[in-house]
Assembly symmetry: D3
Homo-oligomer: 198 residues x 6
C-alpha cells in the first residue's frame, strides 16, 4: 500500500548536475534526510533550480513576516488546496519554526480556529484570498492588511508565498508527491536535551 | 492565545446528571483524559445522551467495516468540512485503530492520495459523496460500493457515519470546540515495550 | 412510477422492538398515518432511538424559539440540501405550526423572500450558515443573532437544529426516503370545524 | 409581513396599452385571477410583449414535449435558481397539466428523486445543465437526449425553455416578484365532480 | 477545424418569413455582414421575433445607461457565463460604442480591473450579481446602485439586460453558436479617415 | 481612468541589477516594448530571476508541445482564473505563435468551443484540471492524455505550465498588473508584406 514518491521518473542523486546534487546533499546534511520534493523535482533540473531559487527568495530572506508566519501561509493554503505533501512537510517545518506542536494541524484544517494572533489571522485571511480567489483581491484587502500592521513589503511577501505554493501544490498533486515518513513526527516531541540550553 | 474549549458554558462534572457523569468518568478512566466533546456537549444533557447513543450505535457495534475504516470516514469527511476538533481527535483514534502513524494526516488532507486499499478508496468516495453532495447519491453509487465488496449493511453504515459527522462537524464548528492537547501526539509513537511482543 | 419508501429493507411494525413499535403507534395515533421516516429508520432500532431522542430534545422542548421557527430552520436548510422528504414532511408541519398555508413553500425555495419577520430572517441566515458553511461561523455571526434578540440558548438551538437536519437530510438522501402522500396537502386547507373548538 | 408584489412600480390595468391590457384581461378571464408576473412586467410594456411572445412560442406551441414536461423544466430549473415566484406559480401549472398533486413539490426540491419516467429524468438532466452550466453543454449531452428518445427539435425546446426561465428567474428575483396566494393550492385538490367522469 | 455556426439547422435567408428576412437584410446593410445570432435563431422564427424584440427594448431605447454601459453588462456577464459568441460579438460592439479598443477585453476577463469609472464598477457589481446569484439580490444591492447615482429605471435596465443575456448565453451555448470572423477585429483599429472629422 | 501598471513600486530600469536590466532590454529589443510583467516583477530582483528562469524552462525549451499549444494552456487557465494581464498578453503571443487571429479569444472564453484539434482539447482538459482542481488529478487523467498521443514528458510540461501560471495569475492579480496597450492588437492583423514570402 506504500505508493512511490512520484508518478514520474526519479533520478539517482549521483546522476544529477553538480549544483542540483550539491543542493540535495546540503539539505540532507542539515535535515538528516532528503525531502522528497527535491528528488521529485530533480527530474527537471532547470525547473528544480527555478523553484528553489523562488522558494529561497521568499522563505529564507529577512523581512517583516517571521519564518513561522510564512510557513503558516504555506500550511493554510496547502490545506485548502488539498496538497498532502505540502501540508505534511511544511506542517513539520511550521511546528519547528513556531516551536509549537499543535499549530500546524490547527491551521491545516481551519485557520480561523487556530491558536494564532489576530495579526496572523488577518495575514491568513489575505493569503487565503490570494490563493483561492485572487481575481477578487482589491484595495480593501490591502487596507485590511495595513490595518493589521503589515507593510506593503509584507503584503507582497504574503501574496507571493501564497502564489508560489499555488504552483507547488499543483506540482505535488501532478506528480503524486509522497511526503517522507520523517515529516509526520518532526516538531511534535522535544528532542531530549537539545532545545533547552538556548 | 489559547482559546477556551467552547463558546458556550461548560458544566462542572460534578453538577451533571448521574448517567452523563458516569459516561464521562468512564471515558476518562479508559483514555486518561476527558475528550472535550464530552464536556462541551454536556451543556445539554439530553442532546449529549442522544449524540453518544448515535455514536455508539454506529462506531462501536460489530459489522463489515473495521473500526479503522469507520474512523477513516470520520477523518476524511471532517477534513472536507474543516472541522478542527474532529480531524484532530478522530485522527488520533484512527492512528490507534489502524496502528498506523501516518494514515490520518493523509486522509484528512486528501484521501485520494492516502496509503489505503482500493476498497477503502471506494468507501471514502461514497462517504464523501454522502457528506458533501448527498442530493446526488444515486443507484450508481450503491452499485460502486457493492462492486468494491460492500454489503448493503456496510453501505448504510458508511452513509450513516458520514451523516452523523455532518452533525458532529457542525456542532464542533458552532461551539468552537477545542481539541485536547493529548490528541495531537496520540498514536504517533509506539509506547515503549507495548507493540513489540506481538 | 411510484418508488418505494426506502432503498433499504423496511421492517414490519409488529416485528420491531417494543419501544420502537410503541413510538410508531403513538405517532400514528396522533397524526393519522405513520410518517415514512419512522419506518425507514426502524431498519436500525438503535439509530432510530438515538435519532428521535435527538429530535425530541431539540424540537419538542420549551425554549426561546417557537415551534414554527424551529420548523422554518428545518425547511430552509433541507431545501438548500435538496432533501425531498424533509422539505415535504416538515413543510407540512411548518404550515400547521405557523397556521400559515404559504410560508413553507416560500422558505423552502428562498427564505430571503419569505413573509417572515426580520428576526426570523436573522435566524435563518444563521441556521443556513451552520448548515452550509459551518467552518466559517465566527463571533460576528453570534453577535448578529444577539442583536436580533436571540439568547445564547436560542443560538445553540438554532445551530443544533441545523446540525441535526444536516444528518437527517443525508439519511433521507442515502435511503431515498419517500414522503408520505398525506404531507403534501396537510396544513394547506383549514379542515371544516376541526381546529376552532380549541 | 405581507410584502408587495414588486420592488418596482406596478401600473394600474386601465392605464396600460390596449394590447397589454387585453392580454391581462384574457388571462384573468381564464384563470380567475391575474398572475402577478403580468402586473409586474407590465411596468415595461415592450419587455412585457417580448417576454410573453417568447413564453408562448415555447410553452404553448405543439411539439414533442408534453406541456407537463415543459412545466417540469420550469419548476426544476427555477428551484435550482431559488426563484420563489416561478416555483410556486409554475408548480401549480405543473400540477394541473400533469394531473398530479405531488410531482411539482418533488421536482422543485430534487428532480432526481421525483416520480417521473426515465425519459423525463434525462430531460431534466439536460435542462438543468443548460440552466446551471451551459458552458459545458457538449455533443455527449445531445447524444444522451437522443438516446432517451428526444428529437433535435425537442432538444432545442428543452434548452430554450431552460434559457427563457434563466431570464424569468432573474427578473422575478430582481423585482422581488410575489406569487399570488391562489397558486399555492391550485392543482392540489380535485375540484368536486370534475375528474371522475373520465 | 472550423466548426459550423450552429448545432441545429440554419435556414436559407430567402426561405425565411418576410419580417425575419427583412430584419436580417437590414442588419446586413448596416453592419456589412450578418451576425450569426440572426441566422442561428432564425431556425425558430417566433423565438427570433421575441428575442430581438426583447433585445431592442433594452439595448436600443433611450435611458440613463449609455449604450456602451449596456454592452459592458453584456460582455462582463457573458464572460462569467463563458459564452464565446456573446463575448466576441458584444465585445466588438462595446469597443465601437465606447470608442475604446481595450475595454471589452478587460471587462470580459475581470471587470474589477478594467479602466472604467467607479459608477460603472458599481453597475457591473450589480449586473453580475443578477446574472450569477440573483437569488441573493436584496435591498442593499439596490441601495448601492442608488448611492452610485442610478435611478430605479436604470436599476431595472441593468438587471433586465443581465437577465436577457442569461438567456442569450444559454442559447449560444446550446446551439454552439459561432462568432463571425468579422467581430474579432471590429473596433480595434480606427478606420482611416472616419473618426477624425468629429 | 487609466490605472498604473502595479499596486507596488515599479523600479526605474537603470537602477536595476545588471542581469535584470539586460533581460529587460533584450525583450524590449525583440518585442519593441517592455511587457509590464518585467517591470512589475523587477521590484523584487530575486523573484524576477526565479520567475523568468521557470518561465524559460517551460515555455522556451524544445518538446512535444508546440509553442502555440503551451500558450493555449496559459490563455485557457488564465481565463478561468480571471487574470487580465495573462489573458491579454499571452493571448497576443498565442495569436502570433499559432498564426491565428481568433484562437486566443476563443480559448480565453471557453476552450471547449475553440477551433482547436481534439488533441488540443484533451490537452486543455488536463491543464484546466491541474489549474482548477489539481487535488483530483488521478491516473485516469494521465491515461486520457496518453490516449490523446501525449508522452509523459508532455504531461509534465502541460501540468507544470498550468502550475506556473497558477502562480503568475496570482502575482498579476496581487499586483494589479496592467497589460501593455500593445498587446491588444498584436497578432490580429498581418503586417503588410511580412508573412507572405514564407
Amino acid at each position: 500500500m506504500t505508493r512511490p514518491i512520484s508518478r514520474f521518473p526519479v533520478p539517482a542523486i549521483d546522476e544529477l548536475p553538480e549544483d542540483v546534487r550539491a543542493r540535495i546533499l546540503a539539505v540532507q546534511e542539515k535535515a538528516g534526510f532528503v525531502p522528497n520534493v527535491f528528488l521529485v523535482l530533480a527530474h527537471r533540473p532547470d525547473e528544480f533550480r527555478a523553484f528553489f531559487a523562488y522558494h529561497d527568495a521568499l522563505m529564507e530572506k529577512e523581512g517583516g513576516l517571521t519564518k513561522a508566519e510564512r510557513e503558516m501561509i504555506v500550511v493554510a493554503t496547502s490545506g485548502a488546496n488539498q496538497c498532502q505533501y505540502c501540508v505534511v512537510a511544511h506542517g513539520a517545518i511550521l511546528r519547528v519554526r513556531a516551536k509549537d506542536p499543535r499549530v500546524a494541524d490547527q491551521v491545516a484544517v481551519n485557520y480561523r480556529k487556530a491558536d494564532i494572533t489576530a495579526r496572523q489571522k488577518a495575514l491568513l485571511d489575505f493569503a487565503m484570498k490570494v490563493s483561492r480567489h485572487s481575481e477578487e483581491v482589491g484595495d480593501a484587502d490591502l487596507e485590511a492588511m495595513r490595518a493589521a500592521g503589515f507593510s506593503d513589503d509584507d503584503i507582497w511577501d504574503a501574496g507571493a508565498i501564497a502564489a508560489l505554493f499555488a504552483l507547488s501544490n499543483r506540482m505535488a498533486n501532478l506528480t503524486n508527491m509522497r511526503p517522507n515518513d520523517e515529516f509526520y513526527l518532526l516538531g511534535r516531541v522535544a528532542p531530549t536535551g537539545t532545545r533547552s540550553p538556548k
